[in-house]
């Protein structure tokens, strides 16, 4: 019984995946390019003309929202400070502490 259910689920999943694979567009030919026109190729605000960067995500991360990245880096720094504090080597003085 459990095997039958598993095979049935596998078949249904396979059918859906095959349908998706058949309907997939050809590689390298995007269906919609409006977003590229707006974010990349726009002559005033696009990232190619504005930042001279092809990668819009990097432009957002390190330029438009650079302060956000600074916060992330600071969080990492704080995490390392915490680890160094917790795992630091304690020096015994006089032998009465513990």
């Amino acid at each position: 019984m459990r095997k039958a259910i598993a095979v049935l689920a596998l078949l249904i999943l396979f059918v859906f995946l095959a349908m998706g694979a058949i309907e997939m567009r050809p590689f390298g030919e995007p269906e919609e390019t409006e977003m590229d026109d707006y974010f990349l190729y726009d002559e005033e605000e696009g990232s190619q003309a504005h930042n001279h960067v092809n990668n819009v995500v990097t432009a957002v991360l390190f330029d438009y929202r650079g302060l956000d990245t600074l916060g992330e880096a600071t969080i990492l720094f704080a995490a390392v400070s915490g680890v160094l504090t917790v795992l630091r080597e304690l020096k015994k003085e006089g032998g009465k502490d513990d």
Partner: protein, 158 residues
């Protein structure tokens, strides 16, 4: 810790460590062209530290040097951000200005040129430096066993 993994694992580690580090450096340096960037590349390079520690057991006692590398990366990142303060913080003052990372890219689809992007590749490099040092330092500190036993120096019997 005085144990190592077997000679097979150590030999394979010696071979694998170079492609891992090269791939991490590639991710950092091409952050403005391809998916990736400072954080991802730094994490990849830090994974090589984890591999070394797993294979060899320990890396020695020099982990405090990584702390200064991390602080250096963060400081340079903030410095680059502050250099554009004439307009606003994180202003991309190098983009399209010529010189280092100041090239312009043609409109439309292009293969990607590494000498573009202004401050973005520089920030990628510094963030990559910081993330590499930070993650390696965390792995390194947690792999040492002297901290489990509070203050007394444990004599390792092997």
């Amino acid at each position: 810790m005085n144990w190592k993994m077997s000679r097979i694992v150590r030999t394979v580690t010696n071979f694998l460590i170079v492609p891992i580090i090269v791939f991490g450096i590639y991710l950092v340096l091409h952050g403005h062209l391809t998916p990736g960037g400072g954080f991802q590349g730094g994490a990849v390079i830090a994974s090589s530290t984890a591999l070394l520690i797993i294979a060899y057991g320990t890396l020695g006692e020099h982990e405090k040097d990584l702390s200064s590398v991390e602080a250096l990366g963060l400081t340079l990142f903030i410095l680059i951000a502050l250099l554009g303060i004439g307009t606003t913080m994180f202003y991309n003052f190098l983009a399209g200005a010529g010189g280092v990372f100041g090239g312009t890219i043609p409109e439309g689809i292009n293969p990607g040129y590494i000498n573009t992007g202004g401050t973005i590749p520089l920030m990628n490099i510094f963030v990559g430096l910081e993330v590499t040092a930070a993650l390696s330092l965390i792995i390194w500190m947690m792999s040492k066993e002297t901290f489990v036993i509070n203050s007394e120096k444990k004599e390792v019997k092997d």
